[in-house]
């Protein structure tokens, strides 16, 4: 049985990150894009946890950062969803392309 090492976790993290980026670039639905951002954030969280556990096992900073990021992600989700709801009210759609006229 192989021990789960740092590299395995980093691999998962990188996979998550690029899945998130890919999703963010390709999806047109704002809610899906928001989910992609969560994926990116979580890949970062994984990184923090992994480095904390394998490199500096006696310390707690990685954990704290992770909790901090989760909290921020929650706040960010709240704001983003509020924006999306408003967009839906005015444009009757949550497609990101309908938001293009915001540049004016």
């Amino acid at each position: 049985m192989m021990e789960v090492g740092l590299y395995h976790v980093l691999f998962v993290s990188i996979a998550l990150f690029f899945i998130g980026v890919f999703g963010f670039f390709t999806r047109r639905n704002l809610v899906t894009m928001l989910m992609s951002i969560e994926l990116i954030l979580n890949s970062v969280n994984l990184n923090f946890i992994a480095f904390n556990k394998y490199v500096w096992p006696g310390k707690m900073e990685g954990m704290f950062f992770t909790i901090f990021i989760i909290a921020i992600a929650a706040a960010e989700a709240a704001v983003a969803i509020a924006i999306i709801i408003n967009l839906y009210r005015s444009h009757s759609s949550i497609n990101v392309e309908t938001a293009e006229d915001l540049k004016y």
Binding site: F25, V96, A99
Partner: protein, 645 residues
Amino acid sequence: MPNTLNIVLIPLLPFIGFLMLGMFGKKYFQSLGGFIGTGLLLASTILSFHTAYEYFFVYGKVDGVYQQFIALQYVWLEFSPGMQIDMGILVDPVSVMMLVVVTFISLMVHIYSLGYMKGDDRFPIYYSFLGLFTFSMLGLVLASNIFQIYIFWELVGVSSFLLIGYYYDKPSAVAACKKAFIVTRFADLGFLIGILILSYCAGTFDFATLIERLTSTSSNEFKTAITFSFLGVSALTWGAILVFIGGAGKSAMFPLHIWLPDAMEGPTPVSALIHAATMVVAGVYLVARLFPVFAITTPGVLEIIGWVGIVSAVIAAIIACTQTDIKRVLAYSTMSQIGFMMFALGVSSYGGENGLGYTASLFHLFTHAIFKALLFLGAGAVIHYVHSNEMNDMGGLRKHLPITHFTFLIACLAIAGVPPFAGFFSKEEILLAAFEHNQVIYYAALFTSGLTAFYMFRLYFNVFWNKPYNDHGVHHHGEGGWVMMLPLVLLAIGAATAGFIPFGKFVSSDGKLLELPFHLSFSIAPVAFGLIGIGVAFLFYKTNNNKADKLSISLNGFYTAVHNKLYIDELYFFITKKILFNLIGRPAAWVDKTIVDGMINQIGLITQNVSEGIKKIQSGKLQQYAIYFFTSILLMSVYFIYLWK
């Protein structure tokens, strides 16, 4: 010592009047405005007579020489230590004499206008302008340095502009005020350059210091001023010539005189004050003020001044003979008389007996102010009665306007140089000075004084005699009440008696007492010429006949040319419109439009095109932005990780 407070109050009181009437006149003093202005000026006149009395008889003379006093001096603008512009008050015989003339004539005009301008919509504004003018003219004569004189010089120009254009709904008045302003401004450019040259050479703006430095042949400043030269003429001479150009513009000397006849569009009392008695003699005053500098320049700027003066006097007198607008006749006569003052300065030299021309010139300035103001105010009374400026509409007015007729006759006799009226004495001294110095100028002046008598009496007979007056059935008021008659009578008394003032005892080129020479045998020729002029006018115009018309027909071409003012206006138009516009104006406009504007337009166009291109990056597509962001982060990471050294 002079009483500073008194002297400061003299120009300040009209200024207060100007502020008060200018700001609140329309609202609070619609009918009282004139009385406020006149009251303030009366106070100022009394103060200046007091000052003159004190100066000439109490403290002015030390060891038989009139001294210059600086009554007030403070630093107004300091460029560097030693190079500063002061504001000050200079008290010397010339400035005190001018104080009296300016305040007295201005007071007469103020009183007269109470009647003449009665019922005018902008009555208080009119008085505020008069106040502004009086303030600036007094500031000009009291100025203690050349820069201060320039400031007030421009201020009188502005007030003259405002008053010529007083009837601003008349297009001709608007054109005239613009013309006056532009022509005098053009001359003032010369004046400004002259000031800069002289004060640069002397290292000071102050009159006394400037004259002292530029006239003592051993001083460094004098050496610098004559060593620098341009086109073979020394800086000192250039400075003096340029200052004279400024003076010539203001004093309507040929060929910068074209604004003066047109300036008659203003109200008649204004013409009496500004364009006859005070402002137009500012040029004479300026030359007199800097006289030692003019006297020392070689080749003589005074020669130039003399010739410009006599040419203006002759030309103006000839033109005056053919004009039919009575105010224009008087305007040309003013120009001619100022020509007399100018050439009198031109034939003078500094100091002692040789300064006869200087004294004569200022004496003539003094007497001319009185009788010319009287002539204008008389003409104003006539115009007030007839409602026309044209001589043809008048005639036979002596019964209708007895007081005006009598005072006008006195003024005409005074200007024609008939003894014992004022003009006789001053003109006599001028002719004497010319006779001793330059015979050509003397004979030209003699001829001109004959012409003067002729055109003045042509005016007189045409207005008051000739055909009986036809009032066209219009209802008529009287002569215009005591406010209009009082100034006429006072000025007539002045015109009759001012000649007896021993002027040489008060004003001379070096402040010393000068006994004006008087030779009975010498006076025969000028008086004879004057009487011949009057006689010819009597023959031609006393009764309604066609002798004058016959003469003008026999002189056909010459008469037409003179009647059209020798086409000088047309010449100016030709030079400005055809030559200056086409050769300088149009190329300059082309350069401005295509090169200067073109460059700016091109820059604008490039910016616009570039931003058109850049604008596309900002698409509003969220994901596109995200791609830019990630790509740049990626590129930056590559750069920082692998390429950063």
